[in-house]
Symmetry: C2
Subunit: 203 residues, 2 copies
């Protein structure tokens, strides 16, 4: 019913996550009626992302060169290393502007039920990196899911005996969170992980 080129665009758009037939058709019509330059810019951006980007040789972050912008930034604290499951968590942490150390991007989380073990997510290369790098603290930033906890546990065991300080993200009430409405798990963890109040940190 649609001319072949339009039909093909609708099909290709439908492959994107959470784009159904109706959305794909709406987007295709929008592109049909938009300036040719805009469609070309989007097409070029798609190609560039696949051809110009690689993984950073050091940390696994996405990068447009062999070493990513974070690893090659001299102002970064090389004694701090944050382990993240994927680049998405790295970007979320970067958005906070709080962290000034380096990263190590894994290939996901350990999940024995899905057949994903330590080697599949590249924990061997983390161990290698730690042997040569001058790291003092390793921050493990995973969600507190079963797979996240398993990964934290494995990394802690793997590094037992080294003098590396291993930490993880604090669990507790979100900023602005209400004690009355917090779920029992979060409130329980916020209690057991209570933090000392000092004159400087209280406000």
């Amino acid at each position: 019913m649609l001319p072949a080129p339009l039909e093909r665009l609708v099909e290709e758009l439908q492959r994107l996550p959470s784009v159904g037939p109706k959305t794909a058709q709406r987007l295709a019509f929008y592109i049909l009626s938009s300036p040719q330059k805009q469609a070309e810019a989007l097409a070029q951006a798609l190609i560039d992302v696949k051809t110009k980007l690689t993984s950073c040789e050091v940390c696994g972050n996405i990068s447009d060169g062999p070493v990513c912008a974070i690893c090659s930034d001299a102002r970064r604290d090389r004694k701090l290393l944050c382990v993240v499951p994927t680049v998405k968590e790295l970007l979320a942490i970067e958005r906070t502007f709080v962290y000034k150390g380096l990263y190590h991007v894994l290939g996901g989380l350990i999940s024995p039920l899905d057949g994903i073990g330590p080697d599949e997510i590249g924990l061997d290369s983390l161990k290698e990196r730690l042997q040569t790098a001058d790291v003092e603290e390793l921050i493990i930033a995973t969600n507190s899911t079963v797979a996240g906890e398993a990964t934290v546990l494995y990394i802690t065991k793997m590094l037992e005996g080294t003098d590396l300080r291993i930490t993880r993200l604090a669990t507790g009430l979100p900023v602005g969170g209400d004690i009355e409405y917090a779920d029992e798990n979060t409130l329980g963890r916020a209690l057991s992980g209570r933090m000392a109040v000092t004159a400087n940190s209280a406000f």
Copy 2:
């Protein structure tokens, strides 16, 4: 924060309707992790839609040749002409498989408040077409909005005096619609436009 090629893809995706920053980033990451062939196919489809498609010389439908598939289909009834505001309405009618005539695609609807008059939507070319084409019935398929009604009115006035039969889509209860919950306008129109029941049409 993101490498330049990824940042640019996110920006380009954000130009699409109802794609915000979060969705654009999610889509960009999906493309980053999808096979190169898929990104290339989408890029090519985008280019093809802009370069290989034109408007049908006869009816204004989108087409991959000078005359569209509908206009060049010999099985179509050339005595029936359906006027639609845009290609979207044409496609909606085609999806019903009920209509076997030809189309005339306008460039929207008359809207004096927005400075859109009869010439802006190409009603002059409709008049021209009707002078040479052997059309017996003209079906005006517009939504029943102010602009839709204005367009119906204008076309009817424009063709006054010709022996063309002018019709429009029926207004009434939707199939499966509930009388109890129908709005007053729809129910009122369904009443005043009530249809004769014959032995054949009752079920």
